[in-house]
């Protein structure tokens, strides 16, 4: 039992929250970076290898494109359907192989990234599919290569939707990072479990909730602002719906 009247309580709480927040931001930040690096190309390939897509026939083979599409679909569906708590435990041998241990914030990055990649890849898929096929046609008529179409049309034109998808992804990484805390992953999740749950400190619990809420709100606000900045759809007069706010 922790005693809030103890003179060491508040400095201790501050210290614990500071470390926890730092660990959370570290886990989430690195996981997010890896997620974008892997999930963005994955999402693009996922859309592209569909029938009639940009990469329908990689290396001139429709058959190969179809196989790639099926395999990626399967992996993404698998990653999306396994509950995180199970995935996290099931990944322990893999995490140990990659990081050398399965305890601590660095180790937690592995399951966080692996759960977030399929999630973000779906977001990318949705965003890319929203791009008007006419724009791809226009770029093709100008003699663009497939990669030019990706870099100059697909990604820039879906940027605001991608940013909102990223903000949804980061929110769920934060969510999962707290779950990692329950199995010695560190971060604010650990603080909530070790102090709030196991030692009955309501103050710790409330502080963690407020901190996570603030982090999510800041990221959300940032994403919405950026999305608006990159959307030039002409809000009042445009016939297209304004950018939807991700939750």
């Amino acid at each position: 039992m922790i005693d809030p009247t103890d003179p060491g309580f508040w400095p201790g709480l501050f210290q614990v929250l500071l470390v926890g927040t730092g660990e959370t931001l570290y886990m989430v930040g690195v996981a997010l970076l890896l997620t974008v690096l892997i999930g963005l190309p994955l999402g693009i390939v996922l859309v592209g290898t569909e029938r009639g897509g940009l990469f329908e026939a990689p290396f001139g083979s429709i058959w190969f494109g179809h196989i790639v599409n099926r395999v990626l679909e399967f992996i993404v569906n698998l990653g999306r359907s396994v509950p995180f708590i199970i995935l996290m435990v099931a990944l322990i041998p893999f995490t140990r192989l990659v990081v050398g241990t399965f305890i601590g914030s660095t180790a937690a990055i592995v399951p966080l990234t692996i759960v977030a990649i399929p999630f973000f890849a779906r977001m990318v898929e949705i965003a890319i599919k929203e791009v008007d096929a006419g724009l791809i046609e226009a770029a093709e008529s100008l003699g663009a290569t497939r990669w030019q179409i990706v870099a100059k049309v697909l990604v820039p034109e879906s940027l605001s939707t991608l940013i909102l998808g990223l903000s949804t992804t980061v929110t769920s990484i934060i969510n999962f990072s707290a779950m990692v805390g329950t199995v010695a992953g560190g971060g604010l999740g650990s603080v909530a479990v070790l102090y709030g749950y196991q030692r009955y400190s309501t103050i710790h619990m409330v502080a963690v909730i407020i901190l996570i809420f603030v982090i999510v709100m800041i990221l959300q606000g940032l994403a919405t602002g950026l999305a608006r900045r990159f959307s030039h759809r002409g809000r009042p007069a445009g016939t297209r719906a304004s950018v939807p706010t991700a939750i």
Partner: protein
Amino acid sequence: MISVKHVSKTFGSGASATTALHDVSLEVARGEIFGVIGQSGAGKSTLIRAINLLERPSAGTVTVDGDELTQLSPDRLRLARRKIGMVFQHFNLLAGRTAQGNVELGLEIIGVGGADRRRRSLEILDLVGLADKAGAYPAELSGGQKQRVGIARALAGNPKILLSDEATSALDPETTRSILDLVKTINVQLGLTVLLITHEMDVVKRVCDSAAMLENGRILEQGSIVSLISTPGSRLAHELFPLGAVPPHAGNTVIEITFSGGSADRPVIAQLARNYGLDVSILGAAVETIGGKQAGRTRLELPGSPVANAAPINDLRGQGLLVEIVGAAAQVEEARA
């Protein structure tokens, strides 16, 4: 400049297959504006997409400026496409780029670097009359302005051919005229060959040197407007100069005279009345300026049967006019001939 030979296009396979183009052949001469007119669903879009192989024909060949596109490797085809600019009905501009940015896209793709790219894009925007809108995003532009950006983008890489896919169909009549005038201007100034598709006869009237009529994936007729006008029974000529339904004319003869070039200036009807003492009634007339020349069709009613009017009709024909006898009476004409 553009030669389409025996092109067919079938979508899907088996029982669900639909054929959009049946053995289509077209010849577009260098420097002309060629219009393909047809109803929606006639296969116009498929046809124009087959020219730059956005839609690969199921059969037949497409040759543009000496390159047989249907034979080229994907890399060579990309290079060939740079000679063919294309504008679209819905503009297809990148929403995230300014007018200038959209024009620069075409230059980026062909690898034109920094300063050159900016200079060239501004030059082209100036040509299409949008120099002052270089920094505007598409959402801030009107339809006509967007299409000007689309044209500028298509022109940036100095193409030899411009394909126009219903470029004016989403625009109001006044804007349509200004865009068509712009197309005509660049056709003349840059010597660009233009192939446009449209469902509006006005577009053909206003800018086209030649035209083809597409129906159910088949070309019904094609040729220069002047030659089409003087072709008896030409559907295109009839639609260029619509005279409406033929009224009942029992006992009398209804003829349609097509004028083109110099014959339009002569007082044909007055001469007819004077020389033959006929009470000529004018049932309808349509006159247009096509390619800078007067052309038109007049529907006249002459008293008496076609046989009785053989002399005046032959006289008109002798003057080089295209005279068609309308309705049931035409059979009499044929029997006589």
